[in-house]
Amino acid sequence: MHVMFSKAVTEGGLVVGGLRRRAELQDYALDSALSWSRSGWWGGRVGFRVTMSKRKMTDAHLSVEECVTQVQEILRERFCRQQLPDRLEGLEAQHKHLLELLRRTAVHGESNSVLIVGPRGAGKTMLLKCVLRDLLEEKEVQKNLLQVHLNGLLQTDDRIALKEITRQLHLENVVGDKVFGSFAENLAFLLEALKKGDRSSSRPVLFVLDEFDLFAHHKNQTLLYNLFDVSQSAQAPVAVVGLTCRLDVLELLEKRVKSRFSHRQIHLLSGTTFPQFLQRVRMQLSLPDDFPDKEFARDWNTGTLCENKSVEEALQRHFNSSKDFRSMNALLMFCLSRVSATKPAVRPADLLEASRLCFCDAKANMLHGLSILELCLIIAMKHLNDVYEGEPFNLQMVHNEFKKFLQRKSNSMYNFEQPVIMKAFEHLQQLELIRPVDGSSAKTQKEYQLMRLMLDHSQIMEALQKYPQCPTDVKQWAMSAFG
């Protein structure tokens, strides 16, 4: 183990962790038997808990395994569970606007409606959750606010949405988890309930509509009309918060619904620059101050992803592609999963590998798994596409093209029976590398059904380069201009 650690250190660059201190090494010897039995961090968690509780009072230093397990736990929580940050970088104005708005609903009983608009992964939900967290810290709010959370992907029509609202509000037609009454009754019941309330006496209700644009596709937009109507009339105070990534969302609303909406929109369009992005990556990877082993944390924090040319390039490429939080977290997750007790650091190589995984082409990868025959058919299709300028083709044409190749220059391939070719063709269709043309009827015989190739030339060529033991004549055929 000693050898391995020192090796890791001398490799330099991106080392996190650093040399082991003597005390820790002693500890390490103590439960080495346990450590050996651990292979991954999943296995390690159980053992860790035991030793952790045992040692907590005596020593703040942890063994490498324990540190790594701890790191994995903290960072995974951060990347996958979307743990809320303490403060929102670059979204302070939006945070304040939303917080004030919801506070007025909760404290003054003023009805409001607002839309939060931003591209996917821009932090819409995070903003809302942060605001709610901050809001609920106030006593006055905590006791008063009722919350209803809906999602357009789950509540696909008003009937389901109404049941869900009724259930979450615990109105009196709910017994246990079951909502009684028909759709019409539920609507009437809910509206009556809201109508009976008034500004000063009833508890304010917060409606959160995730994927707001999908609610606009419900029949007559009944739910939206009623929610917005309540928010604009002297009834129980409500705040309607919609989250959506569609910039044209207002155009989806019917005019009477639109008129009732207050037209407040909070846009999350961040002009993050690359330095800010780098900073954010570092923040995401760094360990918190309350990490049990202070020295490990310090080494990790100073060592993570420092100025390395190739790392920066990879990150720049990533930044160029997209600025959203989620894809960044996915990238870091790949890096993190390569951290282990034997390698307690995120090295540049890890990041490069992770970025390669993120950027690799899915379809080209699939081509690697095809048989030579299937690959030949794909090449034949590519030539057909070249010749006929993207017109659809059928199996017979592909087969003819393939036969021409065999006659002319093939020495490694021989002809296959028609059924074999057919089977290969069907397999390609199942993989969705080819798809039938829309209008073509299912009645036509399979051989004559018109198809289109769903691959780009660059993908085919890339796959051929990497295909293991690809016959040279096939390669040449693929590269030749015309079959």
Binding site: E100, H108, G109, P119, R120, N144, D158, R159, L169, L171, E172, N173, G181, S182, A184, E185, L187, L190, E192, A193, R199, S200, S201, S202, R203, P204, N220, Y225, S231, Q232, A234, Q235, C245, R246, L247, D248, K255, S259, R260, H263, R264, H267, L269, S270, G271, R317, N320, S321, S322, F359, C360, D361, A364, G390, E432, R435, L455, D456, S458, Q459
Partner: protein, 586 residues
């Protein structure tokens, strides 16, 4: 003589039925001699409501003393009535079990059959009502009724004879109540009986507005009910006189009100109703019943019947049944001769293929005794011409009114009157808002919302000592920009490098093709070329697709379903010039 009137009324009660029914069900001897009526008009007024005093008729209501006396009588009679209601409740349920069962089964399999059933029930009810009414009030007539009970009827009638006399309305209600609850779609679990719709109360009281801006914000909220409705005086007057005249005459009618959203249609009608209600309370006009339905607040047009029925009588029924009950109610003399004013908001939502909901709504007011005034509201001016078939449009009639969008002066006046001397805005700021909104839509809601937002902006920027504390031009401008500016430009500016490149590639491909549409494959070639020009690493197809999808999710691009992969077609949702402008800016 006044004290005699109710008695005479009671006498006359039995006669008042529809002549056909009377002849059918009642022996002639039952009805008092017609010579007793001094005028045929009186008969019409007093039909079927023995417990209602004369004061209800428009003519007598004008005399003060008559009003006093009759109101006292009315009160007493009402009291009596209620007691009887309570007494006979249980009894009623038992008695009609067989009939109820019958009804339920028939209503489920055949409409026509149900109709028939309803009719027979109707007869029973009418009979009961008559007999009861006659019996309860005057000993003389009770004897008569008793003698007349030998109508050719079966069991239920016999039972009726035993029962306590009651007034006709309560009869009807009681009779149908058990049956209705049974009828509501037996398969789904019903709302528990005792459930009251309500939102829990606050544990802490709501805070009151603390400063001028907060006060202004409260007043400017669309929900706050203003003391008066400025700028709609003419419309108010028209609607008021229309409804008032109908109530005074005891007739019915329809009115169609149109106007774009946020022009105060519903608010004006509500205001009219408040005023009329006030007038009725001080007995200037006869009392009336106001109910309101909204096409958007029901799940399907036929629910309109259910809601009207429930608001009229408090009873629940299925749509078909409610329709039948309402049909009966409006084709027979109204109970207590009260006019019903029905407001139908968002009328266009009540459209069905056969248009029978609309047809009925407009047909009922034309019935002789219905005393129903229907006010309908919708957004479009030519709705009757566009969606109604002739017989519906013709019944709606030509009483129409359209609310014009507010002009900037009116909007300004609305804000000023709402603020009501709370000094929170600079004059110029108000004018800017109202001019802007008037130019765009004339929607008062929008105007109020902008003002409200402006107060918030002002409050947050109030840290600057220079500010006077009033909402100024700059705040209003900021609010206007927030609400009306499109986010596309900012979105393109904030997009990632590859996304911007892709947009450029799309435009380049459009130019090359001379079309406004291209497949991903074609655009991708351009994208690769642009990458090389910009000195960036070329992207893979998967990544290119991901970029394309992200732009599609924001609706900067319009895409076909993503399963088409490289074959999907692409369009731009913004004008090309806008895209180029926003890309150039940085």
């Amino acid at each position: 003589t006044f004290s005699l009137t109710p008695l005479r009324k009671a006498h006359r009660g039995p006669v008042a039925q529809d002549p056909a029914v009377v002849l059918n069900k009642l022996s002639i001897s039952d009805s008092p001699p017609p010579s007793r009526d001094h005028s045929s008009r009186a008969e019409v007024d007093n039909e079927n409501s023995p417990m209602l005093p004369v004061a209800m008729t428009p003519r007598s209501s004008k005399r003060k003393s008559a009003q006093l006396v009759s109101s006292r009588i009315r009160k007493q009679l009402n009291l009596l009535d209620n007691q009887q209601d309570l007494n006979s409740d249980g009894e009623d349920e038992d008695e009609f079990v067989p009939s109820k069962k019958e009804m339920q089964s028939s209503s489920e399999d055949d409409d026509g059959e149900e109709e028939a059933e309803l009719h027979s029930d109707e007869e029973v009810v009418l009979k009961k009502g008559r007999r009861a009414a006659a019996g309860s009030r005057t000993p003389r007539s009770r004897q008569k009724t008793q003698s007349s009970t030998r109508t050719p009827r079966k069991t239920p009638n016999k039972k009726v004879k035993v029962r306590q006399p009651e007034n006709s309305t309560s009869h009807r209600v009681l009779f149908f109540s058990p049956l209705l609850s049974e009828q509501i779609t037996p398969s789904t679990p019903r709302t528990p009986r005792g459930a009251t719709p309500s939102i829990p109360c606050r544990s802490l009281p709501a805070r009151q507005p603390a400063n001028v801006l907060e006060e202004a914000r409260t007043r400017l909220h669309v929900s706050s009910v203003p003391e008066s409705l400025p700028c709609r005086e003419q419309e108010f007057q028209d609607i008021y006189s229309f409804v008032e005249s109908k109530i005074m005459d005891g007739t019915g009618g329809c009115m169609y009100i149109s106007g774009v959203p946020g022009t105060g249609k519903t608010a004006t009608v509500h205001e009219v109703m408040r005023c009329l209600q006030h007038a009725a309370d001080v007995d200037e006009i006869p009392p009336f019943h106001f109910i309101e339905i909204n096409g958007m607040k029901m799940t399907d047009p036929h629910q309109a019947y259910v809601q009207i029925q429930q608001k009229l009588t408090g009873q629940k029924a299925t749509a078909d049944h409610a329709a039948a009950l309402l049909e009966k109610r409006f084709s027979n003399p109204a109970p207590r001769k009260e006019t019903t004013v029905l407001l139908v908001d968002e009328l266009d939502l009540l459209w069905t293929r056969k248009q029978n909901v609309m047809y009925n709504l407009f047909d009922w007011p034309t019935r002789r005794h219905a005393r129903l005034v229907v006010l309908t509201i919708a957004n479009t001016m030519d709705l009757p011409e566009r969606i109604m078939i002739n017989r519906v449009a013709s019944r709606l009639g030509l009483t129409r009114m359209s609310f014009q969008p507010y002009s900037f002066k009116q909007l300004q006046q609305i804000i000023t009157s709402r603020l009501n001397k709370v000094k929170a805005f600079e004059e110029d700021a108000l004018q800017l808002v109202s001019r802007k909104v008037a130019a765009l839509s004339g929607d008062a809601r929008r105007c109020l919302d902008i003002c409200r937002r402006a107060t918030e902006i002002c409050e947050h920027s109030a840290a600057e000592p220079s500010a006077t504390g009033l909402v100024g031009m700059s705040h209003v401008m900021e609010a206007l920009n927030e609400m009306f500016s499109s986010a596309y430009t900012t979105a393109i500016k904030c997009a990632s490098v590859q996304e911007q490149l892709f947009l450029r590639a799309v435009i380049a491909e459009f130019r090359r093709l001379g079309l406004e549409e291209a497949t991903f494959q074609q655009v991708f070639v351009q994208h690769q070329a642009l990458c090389r020009v910009e000195g960036l690493q070329p992207v893979s197809v998967s990544e290119g697709l991901a970029v394309c999808q992200r732009l599609g999710a924001c609706r900067l691009l319009l895409l076909e379903p993503s399963r088409l992969g490289v074959l999907q077609r692409i369009r731009i949702n913004v004008s090309q010039d806008d895209v180029l402008y926003s890309l150039k800016a940085d």
